[in-house]
Amino acid sequence: MSPPLLGVEEEVQSSVSSPSVECISENGMGLKERNYLGLSDCSSVDSSGVSSNLNLATELRLGLPGSQSPERETEFCLLNLGKLDEKPLFPLLPSKDGICSSSQKNVVTGNKRGFSDTMDGFSEVKGYVYTEKSWMFHEAGSDSESPQSVGHGKYPGNSGVNVILSTRSPGVQASVKQDEPANVLQEQPRATNGTSLKQTVISNNTTGAPAAKAQVVGWPPIRPFRTKTLAASSKNNDEVDGKPGPGAVFVKVSMDGAPYLRKVDLRTYSTYQELSSALEKMFSCFTLGQCGSHGTAGKEILSESRLKDLLHGSEYVVTYKDKDGDWMLVGDVPWEMFIETCKRLKIMKSSDAIGLAPRAVEKSKANNKKEFGYGC
């Protein structure tokens, strides 16, 4: 899943607590606002890539000591950028998992959203935020909750957490740059007396489901030369081969009328329904005008074989481009086969989808629905 990009570009070795200190969510104190890290505050926010809107989605979130992570239920909407008082944009770990036990060790993630809980008396603990791999995760049904780290003992605090805030431009690994730390350091909020970190975080160790992304300085221990070279190779090979390793199947998702594309990892879903919910969440804001109340219709359990049914009431259908380059309607073939052959997804207007799925047209005609489209 190619996430929206984080603000700070370089890897930061910070002997102060992470920048999030400044923009901490203060739910534990009764406030409902969510001030996403670095949104407007950190001038180091760099919207590399598509749109700075996307940064919001992956800002690092750390909470104050004693606070618990807030519930996140509301839908993610890319366009709700400036509205900080909107509900959180995408689902994260439920708050119960935000509770940090004293014995847990944690790892910081800069790139993905995360949340942290802090514990009183944990000033010794190093703050590392484990974040979920992606917000889609939640939808996909494979919960990443149940932090498993039976942790041991204190995690020594020291002169601070090492935070990596890195962007992930497509095809580029979070590469380390060594000439930036000073800069970012200055822009970041001061240390809490420079020694201990006041935040602790849950370490989100999951088994099967895609685990959280650890972004600690120097971890995993790989030479930057290697990551840079691999990134460059991957870029080239994507053009050659068109498909990354079996671990992930990323395909671009475009939608008519949307200003930018998204990418999804098909392997994170196991059914068409999961995919469609995810897509709907991703793009619902673009069709707010049309979807209206129908937006929630997609959450109902519907037949798996017809993805279009999930966009019940909207004018959109989901199509994909297969290995041969043909545009097909999503939902016809078994899921596993679909993953193997799908190269790209496109959400198009039903009116453009004429000819793709004659059966659909017949069906709607047969059902005597309103004009073209998969009627409600």
């Binding site: 002169s159 685990a211 790989i222």
Partner: protein
């Protein structure tokens, strides 16, 4: 032995080649010390700050080959600031001024400037071999100087260096008279190379045995090079992208088949998987295969390739091979001794495609396995125990679970027992890197069983000082200890400061040691340099002894404080 003339002893010493043995020989008596030092040609210095070039030159006037290592190992992972040190210039300068007839220089993690390369190239008439590993600070201009001036150059081996590439002309700087090349490795260069010059160079190098190309060398040039150098033993392919139906590809197939001596294959920095069948003819002879820079190669194509490699002894691969692919390795590569599995997507912890299963499969199928570097999604105690039983011969065992404090996902327990089994079973273990959720217990095991352990890397582990104490007390042969993010403090650090003199170095970052503790070590042990690396400038303002130290690097030395430390390094 006193009755033998010096020449005889010298002759006897000629047969003693290992550095350790020669060092031991020199300690026997004054006479042996003298004979040994005059006959010594190869010197290895594991920490360039432990000795000065002047003393080196004074002791070994016959020096021909020098190996130097600079920055501490964790510099590889960006834990050491850029200009911390490790400059080679003073060494080259001192050697140049002396009468040393240097022929070989091997550097690792050092800062090498163009100036040093130029000085090197002009100062030693018989200079033959330059090997740079993970170095930085030079450009292709420096390489041009080496090419132009070293008339008898045999080896130019650049491994994973950060080189500022000024594009291509350096290859043309090898004079027409240069015909002595045996090994040329420029795979790490990112820029264009003069392909014509490359072809001519290879043509006039009949002794060329090792050739590793960079990404900029396309398939058709590769084919031409192979036609001219069928005697190659080690080949690194740059770009391997072509239309399988093209003439160039056919020619390549023929060229490859002529290369019956190739035993080592690497590169594939760009690869079109459907062209791999051309390689099959040489796979059967390969003993080393490095595909760790070829993410484009995976799935069935990769497995098919591996299935041809029955004699493989060393395999470096990306984790997109998957557990299933490792199963194929286990079935095919019965001679396998070394396996390295790198992550293709290191920062996406969820995507690592190998787990404990792959490792268990390999351990079961490859009983000769003795060296491992394994980046994986997860590990279980049961798997480690099985691996320990299957492969008791491990010399190097480095496990990196991408989530650094992940417990055994099946039992939710720390991985103490698993690693404990490894150290108990592998009596010859010399190098160990730990990861996953670990308590003090694992260190108890290490202290108890890892008698031959020389290098230990610890991250995000342990509960208390006891962990470090178990190791320091137990591992008698420990030379390098590097620790990050563990709760070890002054009590552990100060328990036995004399121990550090028996070791090359100790690195501790993000632990609990304080400035006061470090000062105490420095005071008690004048033969150690205790360096505090602190970039945040806190040290300037707050010299409180209770202040925790972010990074400490201490090492034994014969020459006291170094003079080239940057501002943010305090040597106590």
């Amino acid at each position: 032995m006193n009755y033998f003339p010096d020449e005889v002893l010298e002759h006897v010493f000629d047969f003693i080649t290992s550095h350790k043995d020669r060092n031991s020989v020199s300690l026997v008596c004054k006479s042996w010390y003298k004979i040994e030092r005059y006959s010594r040609q190869r010197v290895f210095i594991g920490n360039c700050y432990s000795i000065s070039p002047e003393r080196l030159i004074a002791r070994f006037p016959g020096l021909k080959s020098l190996t130097l290592k600079g920055k501490p190992h964790f510099a590889d992972f960006n834990l050491v600031p850029h200009d911390w040190g490790g400059f080679v210039y003073p060494w080259i300068e001192a050697l140049a001024k002396s009468r040393i007839g240097l022929e070989e220089l091997r550097l690792k993690r050092m800062v090498v400037s163009d100036e040093s390369l130029e000085l090197l190239s002009k100062s030693f008439v018989n200079f033959k071999s330059l090997v740079l590993v993970s170095c930085e600070g030079f450009t292709t201009d420096g390489l041009a100087a080496i090419a132009a001036n070293c008339r008898f150059l045999r080896e130019l081996d650049l491994q994973e260096n950060e080189v500022d590439d000024h594009r291509g002309h350096w290859l043309s700087c090898f004079p027409e008279s240069c015909t002595s090349l045996i090994s040329l490795n420029f795979a790490c260069l990112r820029g264009e190379v003069n392909l014509g010059a490359l072809e001519r160079l290879v043509s006039r190098s009949p002794n060329l045995k090792s050739l590793r190309l960079n990404r900029a060398v396309p398939l058709d040039t590769l084919q031409k090079l192979l036609m001219r150098a069928p005697q190659l033993v080690d080949l690194g392919i740059g770009s391997y992208v072509h239309d399988p139906f093209s003439e160039a590809y056919n020619k390549l197939k023929i060229a490859i088949q002529r290369c019956k001596s190739i035993r080592s294959l690497s590169g594939f920095l760009e690869v079109a998987p459907h062209c791999m069948s051309a390689i099959y003819p040489i796979c059967g002879n390969l003993t080393f295969l490095n595909l760790s820079y070829a993410p484009g190669l995976h799935g069935n194509k990769l497995m098919k390739l591996i299935q041809h490699c029955r004699k493989l002894q060393r395999l470096w691969i990306l984790d997109c091979i998957g557990d299933k692919g490792l199963g194929v390795v286990a079935l095919t590569c019965k001679e396998l001794q070394e396996l390295r599995v790198f992550p293709s997507d290191p920062f996406e912890a969820g995507n690592a495609a190998v787990t404990e299963e792959g490792l268990v499969l390999v351990s079961a199928g490859c009983p000769k396995l003795n060296s491992l570097l394994y980046f994986c999604q997860q590990m279980t105690n049961a798997a480690l125990i099985t691996v320990a039983k299957n492969c008791p011969n491990f010399i190097r065992f480095r496990l990196c679970i991408l989530d650094p404090i992940k417990p055994d996902p099946v039992t939710n327990q720390p991985l103490d027992e698993g690693f404990g089994a490894i150290v108990q079973s592998c009596k010859g273990l010399k190098r160990l890197s730990l990861s996953g959720l670990l308590t003090d217990q694992v260190f108890l095991y290490i202290g108890m069983y890892a008698e031959q352990l020389e290098m230990l890397s610890i991250a995000f582990a342990a509960d208390s000082d006891k962990g470090m104490l178990y190791v320091l007390n137990g591992c008698k042969k420990l030379r390098k200890l590097e620790i990050r993010d563990c709760p070890f403090g002054d009590a552990a650090l100060l328990e036995d400061v004399g121990k550090y003199e028996t070791m090359r170095s100790l690195w501790m970052s993000s632990c609990e040691v304080t400035l006061g503790g470090c000062k105490a070590v420095a005071e008690k042990m004048p033969s150690l340099n205790v360096e505090i690396i602190d970039e945040s400038e806190q040290m300037e303002f707050n010299l409180d002894d209770k202040q925790k130290v972010d990074k400490m690097y201490l090492y034994r030395t014969l020459v006291g404080h170094r003079k080239d430390a940057p501002e943010y390094v305090w040597i106590l």
